[in-house]
């Protein structure tokens, strides 16, 4: 089970309806949230991906459960790639890749659970930005924390929150969008 904010039931609908409904649903969602689209039309997978790539939404992946295809989309948000990073301590993807076997660090993936589920750095723990304030206490303060997201923006906000609470935290830039090191999925 992948946790999502919104679910669209397009089961039993033939093409073009799964995309017509997805488009309508996405329009009313806030930027950055994840939509799970349940469909039975096999062609919906290639089409949803092609459509999302074209309009700029993030296609996370598809899980097949019996006859049902569950597609995961994250609504585009312009601010992610453009905004400046404020947290001063940063590290590059490559530098983090060299530290993966270091027991004295914690890698915290602050993307949405669905993004994390399809692909993340091995050993990274999932703690979505939106839940950071409530769940911050789950992190031990005796280890250095590396926060990672897709492009470095959400992790910048997370890093600021963590630093304000006294954690030793470093932002990974740019993050998963250009990550070439090992990954794992938790599907």
């Amino acid at each position: 089970m992948i946790k999502t904010d919104h679910v669209l039931d397009a089961k039993g609908l033939a093409c073009p309806m799964p995309i017509v409904k997805t488009k309508k649903t996405m329009k009313d969602l806030e930027a950055g949230v994840v939509l799970e689209i349940q469909a039975t039309d096999k062609g919906s997978k290639a089409d949803i991906k092609a459509w999302a790539d074209k309009v700029g939404h993030q296609y996370l992946g598809t899980v097949e459960e019996g006859e049902v295809l569950k597609h995961y989309l994250r609504k585009a948000s312009d601010s992610e790639t453009e905004s400046e990073k404020n947290h001063p301590n940063i590290i590059s993807n490559d530098e983090l890749a060299d530290k993966l076997s270091d027991d004295n660090i914690t890698i915290v993936d602050v993307r949405e659970p669905a993004e994390y589920a399809f692909s993340h750095v091995p050993n990274a723990v999932s703690l979505p930005l939106g839940e950071m304030e409530d769940r911050m206490s789950e992190l031990t303060s005796d280890k250095q924390i590396y926060v990672i997201c897709r492009t470095g923006t959400r992790s910048d906000l997370a890093a600021q929150k963590l630093a304000d609470s006294g954690y030793d935290v470093i932002n990974v830039v740019p993050g998963m969008s250009e990550w070439t090191g090992p990954t794992t999925s938790s599907l």
Partner: protein
């Protein structure tokens, strides 16, 4: 005006008769790039339906005013959706392809190749996928060669003509389409022939298609000729010393590829021997009938794909490579992508897996890609 419906058979007849048709293909760009309806008289344009959900206004100036417009998608739902938008916007002469590219992929056009004693030879042109199958009929008996999965095409044909199918045969274990040979033979209580060398992993009973084991259909003799290269078992069929069914070894504009079973290096020499020795010794006036075509331009005036053997030795590049090393490069390097789901298709044809109808269709989507160029 209402949105009209066009059948795959009508599109096939336009392609064969070179009648103008404008196609608006609303599938995604990747699907269109991979495979589309083609023909000398066909113009097509790709705009995915998901770009047209909010309206077709931007598209209108790009559509021809004086041509029939056919909207095409994968199945038909999206083409109806876009077609209705066009009709509403006042566009005339719009129809959608009934059953979409699935129906196009599955449509077979039977065309007569020529007469045989007591009957005739027919080619079944699977125009959307580039596959060719054959029926030999004589004195009420028939044999089907390289049958497609849609076996009702052959049974309808034989019922109309009052024929009984005695045998079905595959020239090799196919990797690009699911064979209907076994299913058709079972349905009509006929014999299914397959080359033994290709059948090592086949899980059902069959009769070996073997050189020197001639078969007789009415007054017509079918003579198997061992001609390996595309697969180790590839066997050609000589029909009454007049027609040579070459399977996937020799096509009109190209030659077969040896790599679809993962044995390119091993089979290159077999392919060369077949093409440069075995076939070369045969009579030049034989009519070559392949199991595939790659371009619609290969279809003759009546839709038949064929050529004289001597003509091919003049014009087909694959038969005119003097150096063996150069030949090896040609058939093992820079090959086109392998056909969609070719491993699963081979396993289905061996009886190792039995996917459902929907999955079989999906597996066959796309071009055949059995030739080297």
């Amino acid at each position: 005006m209402d949105l009209k419906q066009t059948q795959a058979s009508e599109v096939a007849s336009k392609v064969i008769n070179k009648q103008d048709l404008f196609i608006l293909d609303v599938r995604n760009e990747e699907a269109y790039g991979d495979w589309k309806i083609e023909g000398e008289s066909i113009t097509s344009m790709n705009v995915p339906y998901f770009d047209l959900i909010d309206g077709v206004e931007d598209l209108l100036p790009e559509l021809p005013k004086d041509k029939e417009i056919l909207v095409v998608c994968a199945k038909e739902g999206s083409s109806i959706f876009v077609g209705e938008e066009l009709v509403e916007a006042g566009v005339e002469n719009v129809s959608y392809l009934s059953g979409g590219m699935k129906a196009w992929s599955e449509y077979l056009e039977p065309v007569k190749v020529g007469d045989l004693p007591g009957g005739a030879l027919y080619q079944f042109v699977r125009i959307g996928k580039g596959c060719l199958s054959y029926m030999i009929e004589s004195n009420g008996e028939a044999a089907v060669v390289d049958a497609s999965r849609m076996i009702e095409n052959y049974t309808t044909f034989t019922e109309n003509k009052g024929l009984t199918i005695k045998a079905t045969m595959d020239t090799h274990l196919h990797a690009d389409h699911i064979s209907g040979g076994k299913a058709l033979a079972d349905q009509v209580n006929g014999t299914y022939y397959l080359p033994e060398e290709d059948a090592g992993e086949v899980t059902f009973p069959f009769t070996a298609l073997k050189e020197n084991n001639k078969m007789v259909i009415g007054e017509v003799t079918i003579e198997p000729i061992y001609s390996p290269g595309h697969t180790i078992g590839s066997t050609s069929l000589m029909i009454n010393d007049a027609y040579l069914l070459t399977g996937d070894i020799l096509f009109v504009e190209s030659i077969g590829r040896p790599d679809l079973a993962g044995k390119a290096e091993d089979w290159v020499l077999d392919l060369r021997t077949t093409l440069y020795n075995r076939y070369k010794e045969m009579a030049g006036e034989l009519t070559v009938l392949p199991a595939h075509f790659s371009k619609v331009a290969e279809l003759g005036d009546t839709g038949v794909v064929s050529a004289k053997l001597e003509e091919l030795y003049e014009k087909n590049d694959g038969l005119n490579v003097e150096e063996e090393a150069e030949f090896r490069r040609m058939v093992t390097e820079n090959l086109p992508p392998q056909p969609n789901a070719y491993q699963e298709i081979r396993e289905t044809n061996m009886g190792k897996i039995t996917p459902n109808e929907e999955t079989r269709r999906e597996m066959e989507i796309g071009p055949n890609r059995c030739a080297v160029n």
